[in-house]
C-alpha cells in the first residue's frame, strides 16, 4: 500500500518457482537489501499492468510459517503487518500434495490471498492432470495453474490478482478447522485466544501455532492474556505433546481431501539420472562436484569476457585523457585523480561487474536447474562442521581463482548469516593473484625450497579457515541455530537463459552503484596518501611508513615492505611492483599497484639484494592472507549488504596478516 500502489507478497516453499515468478513480473525493476533490523535478504520489485502500479515483495523461501528461523519470522511478521494487499501463495504442481503445506499453514491468516499452481508444464510431463476449478471451489480463492517460466502467458495470473484484490478473497478454512477441532483439547485452547490477538490472525491459527510449540506466538498470547484466562490457556496448551505431528496430520489430511477429486493419481517413480548417480556416488561425488564448479567458473568467462574487455577501454582512455590534461596545463592533482583514480577504478569496476555477471549467470543456472541442491547434499557433512550449508563449498573453490567471484557466488546461499560466514572464510583462500606472484617470489628467494613455501601456505590456509570459522562462527551461526539438513532435491529443470539473463543484468546494474561507492573512495584515499609532487619521500605514505617502521619491523617488515603490504590490500598483483618502485626509486606507488609503471630492469636482483630471507618469507605470507583486493571488498559489501560486517572482515584480515607475518618472520629467523 505504498503511494496508492498495490503490494503483492509472494509466499512459497523453496523450489516452488517463486523467484522465477518474481523475475518474470518485475524484470529489471528490482531492489535487493536487508529487512530492516534483520539479517535476512529482502527482494522488492515493481511492475505495471493495465495502468496499475504494483510493488512485489519476494518473501524468503521457507517451508512453513513457524518460528524456526529468522526467514520464517520475517515472512510471518510481514504478512501480519498488513503491508501487503494480497498474498500470492505458490505451490509446485508436480509435488502438489507436499508443497500445498504452505497453504495449509497460511490457513487462518486473514490477508486476502490467491493460489498459483506453478510448474504446470512439469506436472503435465509427469502425466498429471489438475483441475484448478475444483480446487478453487473448495478454497474460495482464485487458483491459477501456470508455468512462471512462460512469461508471455501471465494473463490468468493477472486476472486472479485483480480478483483477489478487488474481492478481498480469503481462504475457506472450515474443512481444516473441522479437523483441528477433533484434536483432544483443541476447542478449549482456542476458546482462550481472542480473535486478532495477533493482528490478522484467527484464533484457530494461533491455537495451531501454540500446539506446534511456536515460542514466538505463545509469548505474544501470554503477554496479552491475564488472570484466569492465562492460567487456563497454559494448562490447555500443556496437554499437547508433539503437537506439530498432530497438526501436520490434520493439514495433510485436508490437502489429500482437497486433491482427491481434482488431481489424477499418477504413481510417481524416482528416476535417478546418470548425473545424479555420478553426483551422489560415495567415492566420486566430491570430485564430480569440484569438476562441475571449475567447469562453471570457466563457463562464466564466456559472458564475462566481452564486459571485461569493455573495462579495458577505460584503461586505454587514460592515455589520451592524460595527454589532453597535460596539454591543457591541468594541475597534476586533477590529472592524477581523473586518470589514476577515476578511470582506473572504472576499468576495475567494469571488469569486476563482468566477472560477477558471468558467475551469477552460471551459478544462478546451477541453482535454477536443481544442480545446486545436489552440491549441497554432497558437501553437507564437510561444511556443516563449520556451521555452513553444503553449497558453501562453491565460493571456496571459486576463490582459488578469484575472491571477487567467490563472494559473488555466495549469492545462492539462502541464509544471510551463513553467507557472511562463507565469505569471511573464502577470503582466506589464496586467490589467482597470490598464485601468480607467490610461487615466483618463492622461487627467486628460496630456489627449490619454494615448494615447501607453497605447502606451508596451503597448511596455513586450512588453519586460518579453521580458526576463522571458530571466531566468526560463534557470532554468526550460533550453536542453537545449527541443525541438520532437511532439504528437497528438486527434479532437474531446464533453466531459462533469457529470463535469467535479464534478471542478472538488472542486479548487475544495481551492483554498479553500490560498488562505485566502495572502490572510488578507497582508491582515492590510497592515491592521496601515496601522492607526491616529487619523489616518493614526499608522500604521506612514506612519512607514515618510515615513522612507524620500528613497529612494522616487529612483523618482519621494513617501511618498503610495509608499504607494499598496504598496497596489496588494493590489489595483490601490484605488491611486487611497489617493492620494485621503492627500491629502484622510479615510478609511483599508485602506478605500481595498477601496473602502469615502466618496467624496471634487473628487478629480481634488486629485491634479492634488499630483502632478507625471513623478511621475504614473512612478506609472502602477509600478502597472501591480507585483504584480497579492494574489488573483493566491494563484492563482499555487495553480497552482505552490510558495511559493518565488511569492515569487520577487512579489519580481521589486516590484523590476521600482520600476526601471521610476525610468526613467520620469527620462525624464519630461527631456521635461516
Amino acid at each position: 500500500m505504498t503511494d496508492g500502489k498495490k503490494t503483492i507478497a509472494l509466499l512459497g516453499q523453496p523450489n516452488s518457482g517463486k523467484s522465477t515468478l518474481f523475475n518474470g513480473l518485475t524484470g529489471m525493476k528490482q531492489h535487493v537489501g536487508n529487512w530492516p533490523g534483520k539479517t535476512v535478504e529482502q527482494k522488492q520489485g515493481s511492475f505495471s499492468h493495465d495502468g496499475e502500479e504494483y510493488v512485489v515483495m519476494d518473501l524468503p523461501g521457507t517451508y512453513s510459517l513457524s518460528a524456526n528461523s529468522d526467514e520464517e519470522i520475517v515472512t510471518r511478521d510481514y504478512i501480519s503487518s498488513g503491508k501487503a494487499d494480497v498474498v500470492c501463495i505458490l505451490a509446485d504442481s508436480s509435488q502438489l500434495e507436499r508443497s500445498l503445506f504452505m497453504l495449509s499453514d497460511y490457513a487462518g491468516i486473514k490477508v486476502p490471498c490467491f493460489l498459483i499452481l506453478n510448474l504446470a508444464d512439469v506436472a503435465a510431463d509427469q502425466g498429471k492432470t489438475i483441475d484448478a476449478e475444483k480446487i478453487r471451489r473448495k478454497l474460495g480463492i482464485p487458483v491459477v495453474l501456470m508455468s512462471a517460466t512462460d512469461v508471455k502467458k501471465y494473463d490468468n495470473f493477472f486476472a486472479a490478482l485483480n480478483e483477489a484484490i478487488s474481492k478481498k478473497t480469503t481462504l475457506d478454512v472450515s474443512a481444516l478447522e473441522e479437523r483441528y477441532s477433533k484434536l483432544d483439547g483443541f476447542e478449549e485452547l482456542k476458546a482462550e485466544i481472542p480473535e486478532d490477538l495477533i493482528p490478522g490472525c484467527s484464533s484457530t491459527w494461533m491455537a495451531v501455532k501454540t500446539i506446534e510449540g511456536d515460542k514466538v506466538v505463545r509469548a505474544k498470547i501470554e503477554n496479552k492474556l491475564t488472570g484466569d484466562s492465562l492460567v487456563r490457556f497454559n494448562s490447555h496448551a500443556a496437554r499437547f505433546d508433539k503437537g506439530a505431528l498432530l497438526t501436520g496430520e490434520c493439514k495433510f489430511s485436508w490437502i489429500d481431501d482437497l486433491l482427491s477429486d481434482s488431481v489424477n493419481k499418477v504413481t510417481a517413480t524416482v528416476k535417478t539420472s546418470k548425473l545424479d548417480k555420478a553426483l551422489t556416488n560415495k567415492t566420486w561425488g566430491k570430485v564430480v562436484v569440484v569438476l562441475i564448479v571449475i567447469g562453471g567458473l570457466l563457463l562464466s568467462f564466456i559472458p564475462a569476457v566481452p564486459i571485461m574487455l569493455l573495462g579495458s577501454v577505460f584503461t586505454a582512455l587514460a592515455v589520451p585523457v592524460r595527454n589532453a590534461l597535460n596539454a591543457a596545463n591541468a594541475s597534476p592533482i586533477i590529472t592524477g585523480i581523473v586518470c589514476d583514480v577515476i578511470l582506473q577504478s572504472l576499468a576495475n569496476i567494469v571488469k569486476m561487474l563482468g566477472f560477477a555477471f558471468g558467475i551469477n549467470l552460471v551459478f544462478g543456472m546451477f541453482e535454477e536447474s536443481g544442480l545446486m541442491a545436489r552440491i549441497s547434499y554432497v558437501f553437507d557433512n564437510t561444511m556443516s562442521k563449520m556451521g555452513l550449508q553444503g553449497k558453501s563449498v562453491m565460493p571456496f573453490l571459486v576463490s582459488f581463482g578469484c575472491t571477487i567471484g567467490g563472494a559473488s557466488s555466495s549469492r545462492v546461499i539462502d541464509n544471510w548469516n551463513q553467507k557472511v560466514l562463507t565469505i569471511a572464510l573464502a577470503w582466506a583462500v589464496p586467490c589467482g593473484a597470490a598464485w601468480a606472484i607467490i610461487p615466483m617470489l618463492a622461487a627467486n628467494f628460496f630456489g627449490p625450497y619454494a615448494v615447501l613455501v607453497i605447502i606451508a601456505i596451503l597448511l596455513v590456509m586450512l588453519l586460518h579457515i579453521w580458526i576463522t570459522a571458530k571466531i566468526f562462527g560463534r557470532k554468526l551461526v550460533k550453536k542453537e541455530d545449527r541443525y541438520g539438513i532437511i532439504m528437497e532435491l528438486p527434479p532437474y529443470h531446464k533453466p531459462k537463459w533469457g529470463a535469467m539473463f535479464r534478471f542478472v543484468l538488472g542486479r548487475t546494474k544495481d551492483m554498479f552503484f553500490r560498488v562505485v561507492k566502495v572502490i572510488i573512495p578507497v582508491c582515492l584515499l590510497f592515491w592521496i596518501l601515496s601522492y607526491s609532487a616529487g619523489s616518493i619521500e614526499g608522500s604521506a605514505l612514506y612519512k607514515i611508513g618510515t615513522a612507524i617502521e620500528p613497529v612494522t619491523k616487529v612483523f618482519g617488515m621494513n617501511w618498503q615492505l610495509f608499504m607494499a603490504f598496504i598496497a596489496s590490500s588494493i590489489g595483490k598483483e601490484g605488491a611486487v611492483g611497489v617493492l620494485t618502485a621503492l627500491y629502484s626509486q622510479s615510478g609511483t606507488i599508485y602506478g605500481a599497484v595498477n601496473g602502469t609503471n615502466e618496467a624496471v630492469a634487473n628487478s629480481t636482483q634488486l629485491l634479492l639484494s634488499n630483502i632478507s630471507g625471513p623478511q621475504a618469507l614473512a612478506f609472502m605470507f602477509a600478502i597472501t592472507f591480507n585483504v584480497p583486493c579492494v574489488v573483493a571488498l566491494a563484492a563482499t559489501y555487495q553480497e552482505t549488504h552490510s558495511a559493518k560486517w565488511t569492515a569487520i572482515i577487512t579489519g580481521y584480515y589486516t590484523l590476521g596478516a600482520l600476526i601471521i607475518s610476525f610468526l613467520v618472520y620469527h620462525i624464519g629467523l630461527l631456521i635461516m
Binding site: 507436499r98 495433510f252 551422489t280 560415495k282 547434499y377 553437507d380 541443525y483 532437511i486
Partner: protein
Amino acid sequence: MKSLNELKPNSEGIVASIDGDARYLSRITSIGITPGCHIRVLKNDKNRPMLVFMRDTMVALNKEESKNIKIETRDN
C-alpha cells in the same frame, strides 16, 4: 519397526512415529514427513545425509536426526 537411519537403500515403509523437540517436529512435518506417510530410502551412505523419497519428492535428511523417525517396514 526400525529407525530410518538403519534402513538400506531401496527399502520402504510407513512412518510410524517421529520423536524430537518442537523445532525438529515442525521442520520435518513442513517438508512433508508425518506419521502414516510412505517413505522409500534411496541412499544411505556413510558420511552423507540420507536420501529418501516421499510424497513425490526427493529429500536429503541429516542422518543423526533420522534416528528419530521410526519406520514400519513391509518385511517385518
